[in-house]
């Protein structure tokens, strides 16, 4: 121990003065550098920050949370909204099928999704991407999501892709905090108030079904869909993942998904896979159906078929 552990007490030297000056300037620089953090408002209240995982909320807790979200939406976006937390119905497992022979690639479904689910306006976000494919190949690599011409084009067919609500969802497995899970009615959901935004699920999903909120979503108050679900279309916070939920705030109340209602050709078939008399069951039994990337073992509950 050749050096003293404290500076020698011989009055203030020039060196000490320089050090003091340096330390002061250094602290000021730190304060200045980190100043933007003071403008960061990740949560509106302490209750928001301390909110428990969705599955741990009691009925009373949940009621308080929903009211708080409604209040915060009013404050931040100036819109009066009703946020509900509809539970899955027993005996229901949702499935979706899409008729590739009929789809004309008009992207009405993607547009309806954009509005229904309160997506960010500037980025024109939607849970649905429509690929224009060339006849003779199902190779996604030959698809094009950026076509810009009247549809349907000659020798093309169209393939809308959204969350496949897999029975073995890789996105759920990888989440480090259980912020995403598969509900009993088959829908994979995200607790937007629990997600930490690591985007591992986005890397794990083979269908490009997940979206990240790179910034705070912007929607004019007049365009906000006020009928909202906690696990579905309420306005998402900045920095969390989101995804298609088959419009569970509609479908759990007996309605159809917005993308289906918007489809002008009737290419989309939605229903309860557990109901033997449902239309979706009829399609699965009578059409030649396939799923995307079957070899990955994800067991999609979204099916494609051709009429002919």
């Amino acid at each position: 121990m050749s050096q003293p552990t404290t500076p020698p007490a011989e009055g203030i030297t020039r060196r000490d003065m320089f050090k003091g000056l340096g330390a002061t300037l250094g602290l000021a620089a730190y304060a200045k550098a980190l100043a933007p953090l003071t403008e960061w408002k990740p949560f509106e209240s302490v209750e928001d920050f301390l909110q428990k995982h969705y599955s741990e909320l009691s009925a009373v807790d949940l009621e308080v949370v929903l009211k708080r979200i409604e209040k915060d939406t009013k404050k931040q976006y100036g819109a009066d909204v009703q946020v509900s937390a509809d539970r899955p119905q027993p005996g229901v497992k949702f499935g979706y099928a899409l008729n590739l022979s009929i789809c004309i690639g008009c992207r009405k479904c993607a547009e309806a999704c954009h509005k229904e689910n309160n997506h960010d306006r500037p980025s024109h976000q939607s849970y649905i991407r429509v690929l224009e494919m060339s006849n003779g190949s199902l190779d996604l690599e030959k698809g094009n999501a950026h076509y810009d011409h009247p549809v349907p084009a000659k020798d093309k067919f169209y393939m809308p892709i959204q969350c496949q609500q897999c029975d073995h969802p890789p996105c759920v497995d990888v989440c480090p905090v259980e912020a995403t899970w598969k509900e009993p009615d088959g829908i994979v959901v995200v607790d937007y108030n629990w997600c930490i935004g690591c985007r591992y699920c986005e890397a794990a999903c083979p269908y490009h079904a997940r979206r990240f909120n790179w910034s705070k979503p912007q929607i004019p108050a007049a365009e906000i869909n006020p009928v909202q679900g906690y696990l579905s279309n309420r306005i998402r916070p900045q920095g969390v993942m989101e995804k298609c939920t088959f419009c569970l705030h509609r479908t759990r109340n007996g309605k159809l998904p917005a993308c289906l209602e918007a489809c002008p050709t009737g290419a989309r078939v939605f229903g309860n896979l557990l109901d033997p008399d449902s239309e979706i069951r009829w399609v699965l039994q009578n059409k030649r159906v396939f799923v995307l990337k079957e070899e990955l073992g994800t067991k999609p509950q979204f099916f494609y078929f051709f009429d002919a």
């Binding site: 121990m1 050749s2 050096q3 552990t5 404290t6 500076p7 340096g22 250094g26 620089a29 730190y30 550098a33 980190l34 100043a35 933007p36 953090l37 403008e39 960061w40 990740p42 949560f43 920050f49 995982h53 991407r129 690929l131 190779d139 996604l140 690599e141 698809g143 999501a145 890789p170 497995d173 990888v174 989440c175 480090p176 905090v177 259980e178 912020a179 930490i196 935004g197 690591c198 985007r199 591992y200 986005e202 890397a203 999903c205 083979p206 490009h208 997940r210 979206r211 990240f212 909120n213 790179w214 910034s215 900045q238 920095g239 969390v240 993942m241 990337k293 990955l296 073992g297 994800t298």
Partner: protein, 423 residues
Amino acid sequence: MPESATTVPSGAAEFWRQYPRFLARVLWEAFDGSRLFYAWMTLLTAVFLVGANAWAVQVRDGLAVTAMSDHVSWGLYIANFTFLVGLAAGGVMMVIPAYLYHDEEMHDVVIIGELLAVAAIVMAIMFVTVDLGRPDRFWHLIPPFGRFNFPVSMLTWDVLVLNGYLLLNLHICGYLLYMRFIGRKPNPKWYVPFVFLSIVWAISIHTVTAFLYCGLGGRPFWNTALLAPRFLASAFVSGPAFIIIAIQIVRRVIHSDFGEGPIRTLLNIMRVTILINLLMVGSEVFVEFYTGGSHTSAAHYLYFGLHGHNALVPWIWSSVVMTVIAAGLLLSPRAVADRRLLNLACVLAFAGIWIEKGMGLIIPGFIPSTLHEVVEYLPSVMEWKITAGIWALGFMIYTVAIKVTINVMGAGRRHFSVLPPEA
């Protein structure tokens, strides 16, 4: 450092009595030194502050300030994270010869590798943290308040092994240094088992980090069993490369000539590992390009560009050229005698692997996307600032740690081993 009071049954109070003074000394060492030290630390602080400011803006405005997108959803941060986990694991290549083969000279410098592991892990953890969309929700990971998706999520494994490795190395370095500080002989019981554990643990951190990527069936570029072995081989190049340079800098600062033997040992290790790494890269390239098919489009994009998009092509070819030149230089007999040649080889190997295991590994995993769209990615200025800031902080931690070690053990000593000679 983290041991409990029960570690020394006879006079635990006596053992801990000087601990506050030890901490004060460490703090003092961090803020006092020569003019060169001040200049270096001021420069690093300035770079760190630029990064801290960029991060504060990113947290406020969202990750939209980065160049990442829903197509390329991980970028420069996760690339650096992956590389740094390797650097941390590579630090252990000092420990294996020292303890497994009783290399006496290696004992003298083994702490240089262990402190590198500490600095690299801290940086790796910071890179993951700045990548989070919601750092305020970090506590969601921590039981019992949070929900830890263990053992299903590989990310939870990574959290455990990285923090475990950090604690292990802090304990080993902290214990040995403190014993030296109070002038007592270290008790092998309190560090040797941890040293052996750290060897196994070093392998585990990089294996688990590889499993993060190669376990994803939807990303064919990563979905290869060769990924974990490749990670280890490249880690055992970049780690020794850094340490060879670090030894020489420390030597110059304290006017000593220790470390010749360790440098030769590390050179010998690199001669093997750099070839194994090249062999594995070549093997992957063969499988990708000979087989063909749509699964190879990511490799095609990386090496030759795809549909006119070729942002990564200059990166990966610089990496290939640097690694091949480094391998040639290392294998040349002159590398043993000619320090400039060796240093050049180390710098080239380090930079080559930083690209190969960083941008060259992470980005092609996302290009083309899972729906086969090609959306390119090059880091934004904000990402570069934050990245530089974290590296600056890592260098600060490493500088102070090495300085404390040297001074606690007495400057000007020929060796600065923290171990007694017979250990």
